[in-house]
């Protein structure tokens, strides 16, 4: 069954059309890449899926639940996690708290229990601390749990952002340019890492990327966007040889 189905999604900013007619069917367990030049509407699509913007037209369904009209936290609670193009950590908070915050929807205690630290409060807090520390140790950040997020080096911040997204316990993970600012060596590691978390957490991944090496290396299917429209779609080999894509996007230089 398809996990995510977007049909005829359109979005306008004022009079400007950012996404013209976006269609996507994402099967459970797939790893799909979205590429396209700057301003092609890639990040807008993430914002539409996660409810930051409300699609002007069309429908986006997750496991047959309509997402258009839902708020970001409602959509996130349906197990959709994401990262951001320009890292958006809670910079002044601790590494641990960054991850703990993302457990919000999974923590089950009432405001009254929170105000009095009674009832389920203790058990639930212990549970999410344990889970947070587990995630941090997977990302080799456990020793930095008490550190302020903004003091982390760039690479660690990127990892922390993914850890935070996984704390949501997502089924669908949206990665917005995860390889931005990385050298080829780091990209190789990242590719392995993405494959690994996908298996480990049984994720369906949709990723936006400029680094062709990464997209071509790990994605099973690629969607090429230009000016809010789908230019081409298919497996990496087909995309690499598609004349339309070469002309519009890759025309200027060699792939990779």
């Amino acid at each position: 069954m398809a996990l995510l189905v977007a049909t005829r999604v359109k979005h306008y900013f004022g009079g400007l059309c950012a996404v013209a007619d976006f269609n996507l069917e994402l099967q459970s367990g797939e790893l799909v890449g979205v590429i396209g030049p700057n301003g092609a509407g890639k990040t807008t699509i993430f914002n539409l899926i996660t409810g930051v913007y409300r699609a002007s037209e069309g429908s986006i369904r997750l496991r047959d639940i309509e997402l258009v009209g839902k708020t970001p936290h409602q959509i996130t609670a349906l197990r959709v996690g994401r990262t951001f193009q320009n890292i958006r950590l809670f910079r002044d908070l601790s590494v641990l708290d960054n991850v703990r915050i993302a457990h919000y929807a999974q923590v089950r205690y009432s405001p009254l229990e929170a105000l009095l630290h009674l009832g389920r409060y203790r058990r639930e807090e212990e549970r999410i601390i344990e889970n947070s520390r587990r995630l941090l140790s997977i990302f080799k950040l456990e020793h930095l749990a008490g550190e302020t997020a903004k003091n982390l080096p760039y690479g660690s911040q990127r990892r922390l952002e993914i850890a935070r997204a996984l704390a949501i316990d997502p089924e669908l993970l949206l990665l917005d340019e995860p390889a931005a600012g990385m050298n080829p060596n780091e990209i190789d590691q990242l590719m392995e890492f993405i494959q690994w978390i996908r298996r480990e957490f049984q994720l369906t991944i949709l990723l936006i990327e400029h680094q062709m090496k990464l997209v071509m290396g790990i994605c099973e299917r690629i969607k090429v966007l230009d000016f809010g429209e789908t230019l081409a779609e298919g497996p990496p080999e087909a995309i690499q040889n598609d004349p339309k894509v070469l002309e519009a996007y890759l025309g200027e230089g060699p792939v990779g």
């Binding site: 996660t50 930051v52 708020t71 970001p72 936290h73 996130t76 609670a77 994401r82 951001f84 958006r88 950590l89 809670f90 910079r91 002044d92 908070l93 601790s94 641990l96 708290d97 703990r100 915050i101 993302a102 457990h103 919000y104 929807a105 999974q106 923590v107 205690y109 405001p111 929170a114 105000l115 009095l116 630290h117 409060y121 203790r122 807090e125 212990e126 601390i129 947070s132 520390r133 140790s137 456990e142 020793h143 749990a145 008490g146 550190e147 302020t148 935070r164 704390a167 949501i168």
Partner: protein, 367 residues
């Protein structure tokens, strides 16, 4: 030398059982001081003002410090609490016969204020920063204006002759309760939600935080305790009028919040205490009493010019102090740091390195 002092401090901070002991001792003192007149009436009065100001500061810090919004409505919530409680003790509840009903009136004041807090929370969904400041200010002005126009509650003349029911034990009790509840709130998923809203509201929403719910709760808790403080204030001052709760009152609390430090309970306690005591110390009579040992040649001219006008000049010095704090220490004395006894042990442990020797970083909390 330094390491020895640190070791001593470390040891002290590890003795968490001291906190409940201190609270118990505080309660005993709160009962004993008025009972046996251990301190003079004036000092007792200042202590009660310190307590009320701590309640106001801790509660405003929740919205303005932890959440990073900018609300000017605090005096409005205080007014609602004060008027509700005063009307109850004056006209409804037979407190003269049953003084035990006083806490009910205080509680009702807090609940009324919390109800209004819910309304003020709504605009904070859409706007923040300057615009929220304006909306909350408009709210404060409207509360004041409504009170002025209802004759039944005294209109602009206010309510005189309120019974003096606020006592040192009650102030101490509510101060402890407000600190405890706000601390519990901060160290819960809602409190972390509040912090994440200050950091990045959109990211917070995308990390599953129900930002509206969190804002509702934060405004409710904050305004509830502002109402409690207002009720206690009314039954201490024994007179309230709309003019008591104007923008100047809010500004007082703002100064205490930002002086003590944003997003810190310890900071709120320090800010409220330092500011209240400092203002009292700068009273002309106090300064004159303190400088009384000076020879007459020095004291008399001082008394003539400086001390006599101090009443006004202290209100000149205080806002200047606030501006200087903002420029040189924008987060205040304890900004974003916490006294370790206030942090739940679970949170402290969770932030430690996984090594055997728990790495600890002074009294500072990591966020």
């Amino acid at each position: 030398m330094k390491t020895m002092r640190n070791a001593g401090w470390e040891w002290l901070m590890a003795q968490r059982w001291l906190l409940p002991v201190l609270i118990a001792v505080g309660f005993v003192l709160a009962f004993a001081i008025p009972e046996y007149n251990l301190l003079n009436k004036y000092v007792q009065l200042v202590m009660m003002y310190v307590g009320i100001n701590i309640i106001l500061t801790v509660s405003l810090n929740l919205v303005n410090g932890y959440m990073g919004e900018f609300s000017l409505a605090h005096a409005g919530f205080m007014a609602v609490g004060a008027y509700t409680a005063a009307l109850l003790t004056q006209k409804v509840l037979p407190v003269a016969a049953y003084p035990g009903l006083f806490p009910l009136a205080v509680l009702a004041g807090g609940l009324m204020a919390a109800l209004l807090g819910l309304i003020v929370a709504v605009p904070s969904f859409k706007v923040r920063g300057d615009y929220l400041a304006i909306i909350t200010l408009a709210f404060l002005m409207i509360v004041k204006s409504v009170i002025e126009n209802i004759d039944y509650i005294g209109g602009p003349r206010g309510i005189p002759g309120i019974k003096r029911l606020t006592t040192l034990p009650w102030v101490f009790f509510w101060t402890v309760v407000s600190i405890w509840v706000v601390r519990n709130f901060v160290y819960s998923k809602y409190g972390r939600g509040v912090l994440s809203i200050r950091e990045d509201e959109i990211a917070s929403d995308l990390m599953s935080v129900n930002t509206r719910r969190v804002k509702f709760l934060a405004f409710m808790v904050s305004s509830f305790f502002a109402g409690i403080a207002g009720a206690l204030f009314a039954h201490l001052l024994q007179f309230i009028s709309p003019r008591v709760f104007d923008i100047i009152k809010t500004t007082d609390v703002l100064i205490m919040v930002y002086l003590g430090g944003i997003a810190s309970i310890a900071g709120s306690i320090i800010g409220a205490t330092v500011y209240t005591v400092l203002l009292e110390l700068l009273r002309p009579s106090t300064v004159a009493a303190m400088l009384g040992w000076l020879p007459a040649v020095v004291f008399d001219p001082l008394n003539e010019y400086f001390i006599r006008h101090l009443g006004v000049w202290r209100m000149v010095i205080m806002p200047l102090a606030l501006v200087l704090v903002m420029i040189f220490a924008p987060r205040g004395i304890m900004g974003l740091r916490e006294f370790r006894w206030f942090i739940p042990r679970r949170d402290l442990d969770a932030h430690r390195r996984p090594t055997v020797h728990g790495g600890s970083h002074g009294a500072a909390r990591s966020h």
